[in-house]
């Protein structure tokens, strides 16, 4: 029974760390992508539509890392 409890505790703590810590890097990444795009748009407003596309692309890359962390958290909580 104690082993069960320890397993449950490990799952919860692991999911929390995976979900929380895993979001730090992608958050910074998305911020940097937005920053770069905004600075460029401010300097040269004509490229807005082109930049928007690539900004979304880069954000999706960074976001997918966060999604990996989220999947691991979900797997720990529900699937394993």
């Amino acid at each position: 029974m104690e082993q069960e409890a320890a397993k449950e505790l490990g799952k919860l703590v692991g999911a929390g760390i995976a979900g929380g810590a895993g979001m730090i890097g992608p958050g910074i990444g998305i911020g940097l992508a937005g920053l770069g795009a905004l600075i460029s748009i401010g300097r040269n407003p004509e490229v807005t539509s082109t930049l928007q596309t690539y900004m979304i692309l880069v954000i999706a890359f960074a976001e997918s890392l966060a999604i990996f962390a989220l999947v691991i958290a979900f797997l720990l909580l529900f699937a394993i």
Binding site: I56, S64, L70, V71, F74, F78, A79
Partner: protein, 375 residues
């Protein structure tokens, strides 16, 4: 701001607040079934990473299993093929002009993606990438939209949770042989006697209903045996939320990109991975030798990154779709009314963006592969 926009924003706010309130106060509905009140609570259904088996071709257990993701993929394919054929029928192929709405829609759809994202990156070679990139885009987009189909991840076959090694839920049946509804009470062990005394469904009965947000019941009367917890293997599940499908897509993209590399550069395509010219030139002085040695090592890293692409391709798509499904489940559990709708619209956006990312990656990596190799 226009009055219309203000009204829309206000309505959204009201719905959001209402959803939150209903979530905390109304996470259960009491429904009379067979003369007793059964409380249906929201719950998180059993989450399974691989697809669930919903049917067998041949004998059950030893025949050919039909997974729900495969079944849904057939529907997705049928939808795309029918739409494409209708679009083709709506196009005057001699004058090269669309004549109907669908023909027009397909033309603008293909033209937009082709002119805006393929031609600027690939230039004259843009045509070769169209079949694979556009098919991947359309397939991922349509299968991503299946999140919005009613009954998605909700209607399916009743499964014995114990066989799967998971905790199941109680269920009630309106009539013998009729549809069974999962209740929100989890069957922790055999000693739990909390399931309602309503007639029970047989395991494997084809008609069972459960849902991300609804279907959960605690009994008014606590008699009846709660020994069997069940889960639902849904008929509809997005094919892209199964790792097999995304891996297959990634392999198709990978093989396509390599073939394009070979077609553009011939056997010199391999030079960027196995840089033997650098080894030959290593004797030309200290500095050149060092640089060439590094160049030779970088070739192997390139080769490795080529294969890592398969993993990143497949896991990105799978992760986004799978996490999206669970996100809707969890939101339905926390706030069962209205609010999950907002997250479903978010899921729609995610489907569009991921389809776009997948297509763009194929285009960009193809352009890298067909780039001229130094030799």
């Amino acid at each position: 701001m226009k009055l219309k926009n203000i009204i829309i924003i206000l309505a959204l706010l009201v719905f959001a607040v209402l959803g939150c309130m209903l979530g905390s106060f109304g996470s259960g509905i009491s429904v009379p079934i067979n003369g007793q009140n059964v409380l249906f609570k929201s719950f998180i259904p059993g989450i399974s990473v691989p697809g669930e088996i919903v049917a067998w071709i041949g004998p059950t257990g030893s025949g050919f299993p039909i997974y729900n993701t495969f079944f849904t993929m057939l529907i997705v394919d049928a939808v795309i093929i029918v739409l494409a054929l209708l679009g083709r029928a709506g196009t005057d192929l001699i004058k090269n002009k669309p004549t109907t709405f669908l023909g027009n829609a397909w033309e603008s759809y293909v033209n937009y993606l082709y002119n805006n994202y393929m031609v600027p990156t690939l230039g004259a070679r843009a045509k070769v990438v169209v079949p694979v990139a556009l098919t991947a885009f359309t397939f991922i987009l349509v299968s991503g939209m299946f999140e919005l189909v009613p009954g998605h991840e909700a209607v399916g076959v009743v499964e014995d949770a114990k066989v799967l090694g998971k905790k199941g839920y109680c269920y009630v049946q309106t009539a013998p042989g009729g549809a069974a509804f999962l209740t929100g009470v989890q069957v922790v062990d055999d000693a739990t006697k909390e399931c309602p005394a309503a007639p029970k469904a047989e395991i494997g009965s084809p008609l069972a209903l459960a849902a991300a947000t609804d279907v959960a019941a605690a009994p008014a009367s606590a008699e009846g045996d709660g020994s069997k917890g069940v889960l639902v293997a849904p008929f509809l599940r997005r094919p892209t939320s199964d790792l097999s499908t995304t891996l297959a897509l990634a392999l198709i993209a990978f093989i396509f990109i390599e073939i394009q590399g070979f077609r553009a550069n011939g056997r010199h395509y391999l030079d960027r991975f196995f840089n033997f010219k650098a080894v030959r030139d290593m004797g030309k002085g200290m500095m050149t030798g060092l640089v060439n040695m590094i160049g030779f090592g970088v070739g192997f890293l390139e080769l490795l990154s080529e294969f890592i692409r398969i993993i990143s391709f497949s896991f990105r798509l799978f992760g986004n779709m799978f996490a999206g499904t669970i996100l809707v489940f969890v939101m339905g559990f926390l706030m069962p009314f209205v609010v999950p709708t907002l997250f479903m619209s978010l899921e729609f956006a995610v489907a569009v963006i991921q389809a776009f990312v997948f297509m763009m990656l194929i285009v960009v990596f193809t352009s890298l592969a067909v780039a001229h190799t130094e030799h």
